[in-house]
Symmetry: C2
């Protein structure tokens, strides 16, 4: 699965190694700021635009237009199904993060991955959101991630990789450990 | 902004009040399970499908097809810009959650909202993701949310509403407080 520019799992391994070396030389390169703008469209419906970010000491200009993600609730939660809801979008964010972590680290370690799938589940009790409980939490009580990977690497090596990915995944870190969130009305 | 079915801010207020009453009568109605399936498509690119969920004591059947959200990285992070990345998707999830919380609670309290916008920013240092630091965290060091609301309600009332939303937002709860995440290879 390697070709002349040393891609493994679709990842340019040379660029990955070069990035690590550059960050070692100049820690400022590792500082990123990501952004999103969200507009309410009525009821539970909103649209988020995602385009610019800062990183590697510069404002990124690689995206010609913004990605758009719509959010809404299903009818049972008073919405009109214009998009996945917020806690479903969170499951996507987590799975997307684990995917990148798994694939990039597999590439770096010389592991070829043929396929990778995640089944995500989150259990949530609405009492707190509805203002009916101070003891129940508003968010998921538990998230269960099951993943299936096809690879010629031994299962033990894949499990080690998964353990490593769990230590270094940005979204998983933000779920397992508190993140400071400042909210200000302007 | 009220009409015959008592919609405020596009939210069916009668249905909202009825939902609260039903949950008070039967706590089981409040139990939901949300789900997502994510497939790796090569490099940093994945696609998440979101459709079914369990809630209000039944499997939902309101969605005729799955919502799809694609994730990828920009070129500087070895991707091809097929979608927003995981930590950007997380900003969407948070803003979408705050939107629903703000709008639904405004509707319940009789506050008319004309417009609502969120500007989201998250600062992240790549050292941990790249395996170059044990002391830096992989996730955002800080998330900053700025929101602008147009409403005929007094600013003080809107700020109180925002404080209440912060206490009851599922995604904000999951960022500010640890969530158990179980990860299993199948």
């Amino acid at each position: 699965m390697e070709n002349v520019i040393h891609k493994r799992n679709g990842v340019n391994v040379d660029q990955l190694m070069q990035t690590i070396d550059l960050v070692k030389e100049d820690p400022e390169i590792a500082k990123f700021q990501f952004r999103a703008e969200t507009e309410w469209l009525g009821g539970g419906h909103c649209k988020t635009k995602i385009k610019d970010f800062y990183g590697a000491k510069t404002e990124d200009s690689s995206r010609s237009r913004a990605f758009e993600i719509e959010g809404d609730e299903p009818p049972v939660l008073l919405g009109e199904n214009n998009g996945a809801n917020a806690v479903e979008a969170l499951l996507h964010a987590l799975a997307s993060c684990l995917t990148v972590g798994f694939i990039y680290n597999a590439a770096a370690k010389g592991i070829n991955v043929e396929s990778l799938n995640f089944q995500m589940k989150g259990d949530l009790d609405l009492h707190a959101f509805l203002g009916l409980s101070e003891s129940k939490r508003p968010g998921y009580e538990k998230i269960i991630v099951k993943y299936k990977v096809k690879s010629d690497a031994p299962k033990e090596q894949l499990k080690e990789l998964c353990d490593y990915v769990q230590k270094t995944s940005p979204v998983l870190d933000m779920l397992r450990n508190p993140v400071p969130v400042e909210i200000e009305m302007i």
